[in-house]
Amino acid sequence: MSGSDMYRQQILDHYKNPRNYGEMQDPDFSHVGENPSCGDTIQVDVKLADDDETIEQVAFSGDGCAISQAAASLLTETLPGKSIDELQAMDTDDIVDMLGVDISPMRIKCAVLARQVAQDGSKLYRGELDEKDRTITEE
């Protein structure tokens, strides 16, 4: 759970070469989030399949630390094919598994930001959440 351990090849690769980076043309839903004390900001755009339930394509944009950006990049690869329910069921452990490294306690908020943005976005889309300006995962 120490610093360099967190920066294994996969994380650094996704940070330096983010996948699916940029804003989508016609997302079904889109949501933003930030962790003000870090300055991490992330927008997640999601395109759904015709069933209005299966995630077809995901893009992200924003900037911030390697953990938050790599997690977002990895998420854009992990989500397609999953259902919104599956997205909403993802917890912190799933993100840590996805990253493949231990995340130190104070950095968890960076790791889970993109997931939370995607989850909140899907809830807003489904009307399960009333209104939410920005998602924040800092306490």
Partner: protein
């Protein structure tokens, strides 16, 4: 670790008073304290956030708890008398340390932040009027900036932020133009916790006074690191925290000129700050007790006294020299690299250096430094607006104190290089 500078401090001897400097890190952080998997020596360069605590301070508090723990002020039995005397004398000691006239001018708060709020709630809510303004600076800590901002919003007063120049110094021309006859308060940080800038607080106070305004100087980073004389500065209010000056958490100091403190209404009310309570009304105690409601931080006051003793034994001039030297060394070594941006002035800076490594977020850098045992602070250092001015979301700050050495700065530079390689 050998003494490594010419400031005259016996750093090696000093380090022996701080057991935590022997700590190894690197293992499980979810369980507080050392564990078997800790194997990395600690290089603690986060002193501007909080300083470590020497044996002398911890032992003074232990002695309090084991030998004369008691509630203060009102007790007649021996323990209470002993505790009361120690608690009251702690005020005298703090007064003397910063050049205040006596205990009447020294209010113990929980920290610097509460000191600002105390003045905002007492002076601010009763004296600050619509049409008036508070002048503060872009480099204020949130303790000061947010307090004045919220107060002005409540009172319908204007808040003005004095700008900084490219070197991270206060633009004194801007300050002069922003302070006018409607200015009720000028508040500036003595030593910036982000830029290291040392502000001309005596001059700032003079300008405030020329316009009939009060001055409140934030000494949280100054009192721990250099001789401070509030009378010489002529500040109306001045605040600092115990935990940044080898003392315990849970105690801070608000200095205020006696006639001002006398005129202010109380802040927190309750026991110990009253003279006479009847169902119909209440009268207040004399200074400083009027501002200290309830059971105060007694053990912490004992610890603060011990911290002041320790600092004076070492000598504030020597500490200032040592810090400046380390800061210059760190600045110069970091300057060797084109991919490092340093914030704040090169000359006349406090003992801290804020910087960013190109392409590496401060939080990532800090995580990697931690892996090499180098403890720095990364983030906004409670100066978010200043970071907006600097145009960065966060910075990394290495801050030094009397027990730090050049070798620790070399470790920092090496660890930064590892991060550079990793992110290359």
């Amino acid at each position: 670790m050998p003494t490594s500078d010419a400031s005259g401090l016996d750093v090696e001897a000093i380090r022996e008073d701080f057991p935590i400097l022997e700590r190894k890190i690197g293992g499980d952080v979810t369980v507080p304290g050392p564990d078997e998997t800790d194997d990395q020596p600690l290089y603690y360069l986060d002193n501007a956030a909080t300083s470590h605590t020497p044996r002398q301070v911890v032992e003074a508090m232990t002695d309090y708890y084991y030998e004369y723990n008691s509630n203060v002020h009102r007790g007649i039995h021996s323990l209470s008398q002993e505790a009361s005397i120690a608690y009251e004398e702690a005020h005298d000691r703090a007064a003397e340390f910063v050049g205040a006239d006596g205990r009447e001018e020294v209010v113990f708060t929980k920290n610097t932040t509460e000191a600002f709020n105390l003045v905002a709630y007492t002076w601010g809510l009763t004296e600050l009027e619509p049409g008036e303004n508070v002048v503060t600076t872009q480099m204020e800590h949130h303790a000061s900036l947010v307090t004045w901002q919220q107060l002005c919003e409540k009172q319908g007063a204007e808040i003005r932020y004095v700008e900084i120049d490219e070197d991270g110094r206060l633009d004194m021309d801007d300050l002069r133009s922003k302070v006018d006859d409607d200015t009720a308060m000028v508040s500036a940080v003595h030593v910036s916790n982000t830029l290291g800038t040392i502000n001309p607080v005596s001059e700032i106070t003079d300008i405030a006074h020329e316009h009939g305004a009060l001055s409140f100087i934030d000494g949280a980073q100054a009192v721990p690191t250099r001789p401070v004389d509030v009378a010489e500065i002529d500040a109306d209010f001045y605040a600092f925290s115990g935990h940044k000056m080898l003392g315990p958490t849970g105690i801070g100091v608000l200095y205020g000129k006696q006639h001002l403190l006398e005129e202010l209404p109380p802040f927190l009310v309750g026991g110990a700050m009253i003279r006479r309570v009847e169902f119909e009304g209440t009268t207040w105690e004399d200074l400083p007790w009027k501002f200290e409601a309830g059971t105060p931080p007694i053990a912490e006051a004992v610890g603060l006294t011990a911290a002041i003793d320790y600092l004076e034994d070492v000598g504030m001039e020597a500490i200032e020299r040592h810090e400046s030297e380390l800061a210059r060394y760190a600045y110069d070594r970091l300057s060797e690299f084109d991919d490092i941006e340093i914030y704040g002035p090169h000359e006349e800076r406090g003992g801290l250096v804020g910087f960013n490594l190109e392409g590496v977020h401060a939080h990532d850098l800090s995580s990697i430094l931690d892996d090499h045992g180098v403890a720095v602070r990364a983030g906004d250092h409670c100066t978010q607006p200043l970071h907006d001015v600097l145009g960065v979301p966060a910075s990394t700050r290495a801050s030094f104190y009397l027990y730090n050495t050049r070798e620790e700065i070399d470790e920092l530079i090496d660890a930064v290089d590892t991060a550079r390689q990793l992110f290359a």
